[in-house]
Symmetry: D3
Subunit: 299 residues, 6 copies
Amino acid sequence: MDEKNMQEILAKAEVLIEALPYIQRFNRKIIVVKYGGSAMVDEELKRHVIQDVTLLKLVGFKPIIVHGGGKEISRWVGKVGMEPVFVNGLRKTDEATMEIAEMVLNKVNKSLVKLVEELGVNAIGISGKDGGLLKVEKKYSNGEDIGFVGEITEVNPKILYDLLEKDFLPIVCPVGMDDAYNSYNINADDAACAIAKAVSAEKLAFLTDIEGVYKDPSDKSTLISELTIDEARALIGDGFIGGGMLPKLNNCIDAIENGVSRVHILDGRIAHCLLLEIFTNRGIGTAILSEKEKRYYNE
Amino acid sequence: MDEKNMQEILAKAEVLIEALPYIQRFNRKIIVVKYGGSAMVDEELKRHVIQDVTLLKLVGFKPIIVHGGGKEISRWVGKVGMEPVFVNGLRKTDEATMEIAEMVLNKVNKSLVKLVEELGVNAIGISGKDGGLLKVEKKYSNGEDIGFVGEITEVNPKILYDLLEKDFLPIVCPVGMDDAYNSYNINADDAACAIAKAVSAEKLAFLTDIEGVYKDPSDKSTLISELTIDEARALIGDGFIGGGMLPKLNNCIDAIENGVSRVHILDGRIAHCLLLEIFTNRGIGTAILSEKEKRYYNE
Amino acid sequence: MDEKNMQEILAKAEVLIEALPYIQRFNRKIIVVKYGGSAMVDEELKRHVIQDVTLLKLVGFKPIIVHGGGKEISRWVGKVGMEPVFVNGLRKTDEATMEIAEMVLNKVNKSLVKLVEELGVNAIGISGKDGGLLKVEKKYSNGEDIGFVGEITEVNPKILYDLLEKDFLPIVCPVGMDDAYNSYNINADDAACAIAKAVSAEKLAFLTDIEGVYKDPSDKSTLISELTIDEARALIGDGFIGGGMLPKLNNCIDAIENGVSRVHILDGRIAHCLLLEIFTNRGIGTAILSEKEKRYYNE
Amino acid sequence: MDEKNMQEILAKAEVLIEALPYIQRFNRKIIVVKYGGSAMVDEELKRHVIQDVTLLKLVGFKPIIVHGGGKEISRWVGKVGMEPVFVNGLRKTDEATMEIAEMVLNKVNKSLVKLVEELGVNAIGISGKDGGLLKVEKKYSNGEDIGFVGEITEVNPKILYDLLEKDFLPIVCPVGMDDAYNSYNINADDAACAIAKAVSAEKLAFLTDIEGVYKDPSDKSTLISELTIDEARALIGDGFIGGGMLPKLNNCIDAIENGVSRVHILDGRIAHCLLLEIFTNRGIGTAILSEKEKRYYNE
Amino acid sequence: MDEKNMQEILAKAEVLIEALPYIQRFNRKIIVVKYGGSAMVDEELKRHVIQDVTLLKLVGFKPIIVHGGGKEISRWVGKVGMEPVFVNGLRKTDEATMEIAEMVLNKVNKSLVKLVEELGVNAIGISGKDGGLLKVEKKYSNGEDIGFVGEITEVNPKILYDLLEKDFLPIVCPVGMDDAYNSYNINADDAACAIAKAVSAEKLAFLTDIEGVYKDPSDKSTLISELTIDEARALIGDGFIGGGMLPKLNNCIDAIENGVSRVHILDGRIAHCLLLEIFTNRGIGTAILSEKEKRYYNE
Amino acid sequence: MDEKNMQEILAKAEVLIEALPYIQRFNRKIIVVKYGGSAMVDEELKRHVIQDVTLLKLVGFKPIIVHGGGKEISRWVGKVGMEPVFVNGLRKTDEATMEIAEMVLNKVNKSLVKLVEELGVNAIGISGKDGGLLKVEKKYSNGEDIGFVGEITEVNPKILYDLLEKDFLPIVCPVGMDDAYNSYNINADDAACAIAKAVSAEKLAFLTDIEGVYKDPSDKSTLISELTIDEARALIGDGFIGGGMLPKLNNCIDAIENGVSRVHILDGRIAHCLLLEIFTNRGIGTAILSEKEKRYYNE
């Protein structure tokens, strides 16, 4: 073996060895991955995300995928000749729309099952209706009834624990039922956050279409790599956070306050962002954590 | 309590007591129910079927539901402006049709999950893709390629055993994958039969739109209540069996020869036909069984 | 099938379906049945009681039978030429009487084992001596020593949990031992109540020779179908309760206060009273429950 | 501590150490003890037998006691004014006699439970009816119907395995049921032998009223300490074995041929005969074993 | 069997029976044996100790041996031409000495494993490094650094529970690691005491070279057979305890205050002292216990 | 993040993803690593080997380390003034030498335990004496008695299965006992091979001081990367294999013929050779496998 080959091969070994302490730290821990945005549209990125989650599973983590499907729902609403209606950013979801939404979300769900199975890992696709996982109530938009849009009131994690124990990788689509057993569409970020809290996940990772949280959104050089919840609250209070990031950051704070150790806002447009975040010492995106957690890791 | 009330109440007790030996005999046994036909369209009948299966679950059986959804698929194919095409009774399933078929089958699947959950029993809706349950290869119609219509080549029942162990009622929709992980539509009767064989089900019950097997299909008084597989083969040989009953009866024979103890062809248009067949001494429809089984129960 | 048959057969199904929510509610719950009175003498009623308890076992409950045998003891005491002596309703139990009592109770015990085994369910007959189940001390009747009549001081439920786990139906006869390991006869109502408390039974059912508790015992129309323990105490305070009902009602109150959810005083002379009480919406006899429990079920 | 005390105390230690290899060899092995004869009448011997069996239990063996009660049955048959009748050494057992026999055997059974419990070990007294342990058919005496005398046709050892697993010492009285669930009296030697075979006991020990097997019954100096089953058959063939020893020896041969490693015929009139046989290098009575077993231990 | 043999054999039985209540009381309890002193040098005594511990194991106890090896270490230090140095009774342990100490302790450890295996019991020899059992920090002798002499700061008993569950007899040599994973020599008495506390041992027994604790060390007739920790503290306060006994007695008090029921200081020069202490009613040496424990056993 | 950083970080991800199928294939499989040669002397290499094995453990494999210690033994033999003697390459091992050998091997053993524990994984160091793991008989060198050099006659893998089940990484030093419980030194290659066979290891890896097997040992360019056992036999037959490689290759063939899937001869002087062999598609050294295995992986 010549010198150059040797160098190259040793570099490979170093990467694996670098992953060792991370594999050890998160062994048998639950990681909830909110999968959405560009990473769900680009076929190449899709393959990378699924490879990452499957690798996490194989090295001893217990990942759970929660996914959305907004764009695909709109496409099918159009396909049957209906017009998507949004109220304050929330889809107005009448019965016909809900029927399509559920169909589309299940289709996306099973397409992810397929990708994981292809890699030789047992996946199971469920919705929040299976095993009574997600209980919801109607969500109003500034008092306006916008149909079957649900707010989670209760998570029954038994089905997730059962599936993890039996070594499946659960893939969850955000549909739930109210007390009268009607189906509702749920925001996927909210579903991922509620599930992460219910199973006391070690990590909750959001795959998004931005690089992370900025101190100043207009200045890309102000990306924050670590943010305690106190700092996050301050940023919100100072009015620096807006758009889709506000509810996401509130979800992060909520998760941290309810037993999740760390939340990651990752740029899903970077290949293998998840793997790199977890297995290397070069973090990607923004990590949200408690003050206590921050002190612990910096000691 | 007056005499009449007393009589009525005692009659109730007798019905429960009549069920006792059947509950005992089938305790912890797996029963695969192929659910289709009218019983899937009429809301009242639908409720009855689900009540029956749920009761079976609660008294100690391990039911698995396998369902179809042909009519609903056709409706949605139309809805998006396409034309359903059938070749020798098999739906020609191009990629666009398959996408719709899978969406619709998953929708039906989750609607059954909802009905079971409503009765307080944990249900989980899966397809043959989850956990690699159903492996298929392309099925040709007299040599003609009719697209994504699959023939089952392998059943991996691990996921079903896992779910039954964790006390779920599994509801399966007949979609599987080939070696290249493409999705295929599968005939629900075939799927139910293959699953019943793979888990060595005690019973396989087909909910159909006919009363059962007739000696002479033109004479309704010739309904056969019990049929050994030798007798079934003779009937087929004599040309008495035709139409949709022929493949169904072949499925029955196949199941019995591969470890299923008894197959029932039930009239799904009769309310609670499943319950009555299993829990009372008044059989409904036609039971297919082996010669050995017949001798055993008549002793 | 003609119309009339059809009607009849559907009525059967309705009874089974009516039982569904009850089967679900009490799944894997322990039910202690105090079996005594007429239901132990009449062979037909005996068969019905055993059928009922066996059915409860088969559909997922965990029943425990506690039985007496007073009349049969008296018969055998006479048979060997001795005279039964009672002091304030308690049998004066010298050593010779105790020897006979234990023999007779074990005989009755094994005759019940036989009836359950006949129905294909594994039964095991034990006394309070086995596994140290019932510890007693001598009970005095107004200060008078009446021999080997015991008052329960401690229940060691390990043997019951072990037998239930191994799927046996335990049948217990009310004999216990004091600290010096002498055998004592115990009132069967007391034994059933103490056992129900020790295993936190969901239900305790007394099979008696009366219809239930009356507001006015002289007026059969005043049968009370539901009684909270506060109401029961008021009735006792008002002097409406007398005879054998007084200690029984005290037992009921004691049981409810110590973790049993509901106690039933049933008329054992009605065939299948136990089954009807539990599986139908027509309660039989009187149910005693806590105020909290009452509110819960009426909501 | 003076020299004499020291010597005495060291002698004690030596006895315990002598037991070490035996404790090790039989660890977690099942030992069936047929308990009967004088050892059941003399209160002092009774206490010794129970101490021995309890010690076996505590040091890791799994003993099962099977006992008879012939003399006590006769006493009670007389007590109620009936006359015991024997046909060829078998008790003629009409229904009334059977009722008394079962009562008495259960009484004896629970008196043994008491003695074991007193020593702090969990005992459970069962009959061959519990858990369907002993199935029998009617036994005829030279063609004559002698009533409810049973011959064992099937042993269902589940109940014994369950109780041993739950750390109970099972005490079995020899009553079984036929296919019609009638009760029968069984010879206790036969019951012990059948049970030892069914559970593949390591040892079966008969406590008897003789010293063991003699080459010449008239010459006490011809006591045989070890007998292979071939030698036993030869002795029988030569006509040296008679009386009650003949069926016992046949039982021994039957047991050895069906998986029991060693059968002991012990003199129950010697205090702690069981303990001495098992824990010391001074065997007591006669050991019956296979040729192979003999070779194995002499190597 | 003649009379004299009979007497002798019965005496044997009595010794075994005498052990019965002790076997019962300590069934499945953990006993930590600190093994050292003469009993480790004399081959005959060594054999006796191992026989005793093995017997304890076989009759259902869970013994753990903790041993030292001081004399053997000194012998090897000399063998390689070094000089043992002691500071205030503690061995000055530089790196070279520590290397030898660890080698010697492991040699002794495996020689004990051999003796136990020879008796047919599964032994496993570990040090405090295996499974992170013993965490230490440097121990100073009146402020002086004496090298790798460790003081236990933490016990992680997982490895011991695992090995006991898998039915091994763990044999532990007193070497531990500090936070930087350097090896340290630990006083064996301290290790035994720390382990006994960590596993809440029922008993902790020190095999020593003295008879026990004396009221007046100069008067051998003042041996104390039972000492409560209050009494022990008083003795220490009065200045009666000196030399090696002082730290040992402090260890005893520490153990009793932290969940160990009884500590025994035994004379390891008496053959089978351990067995005699535990299995006979003639205690040997001194037992230290709490006031509460004393009252309990004297009642 | 600039482009160059991005490239570098993506390369890292690719290495991890490349490992995915290997992690999956060997999940929960046992890998026996024979650790010796230069990799045991160079501290840097030592650290790499332990990192590799620990990583294997963390990602779901079940590694077992078997190590030697020849050079260190010689060093200590000299230290105490003795002269190492070798007969045909085998150390002449008298009692004194054996004592030192065992001490040194245990020292090396615990030093490896330390390195694994340091990485946060539970290790346990055992010898072949613990739990009776390795039974040996004396090995003669061409008929000459060379003392306590053992040949393995039996492996009792219970202790390894127990430790793996409890999630320990077992580290084994090659000392065993004969039937008389004397200790023997064992060749570490033989011990690794015997253990791999006994536990049906998926892989057996030898860390050596050569690059692998050469077709022509004088020509480094003839390194063989894959060798079936038939080819290996042919090479041996042709006289191409000599020196230390001959017994090693015979061990490989023996292992493959007895259930091990693949044996690797790796160059322990290359950092992370183990990791690279297992996790990358660039094999290192020579793999020996069966003809069947070769066909399987090449399909």
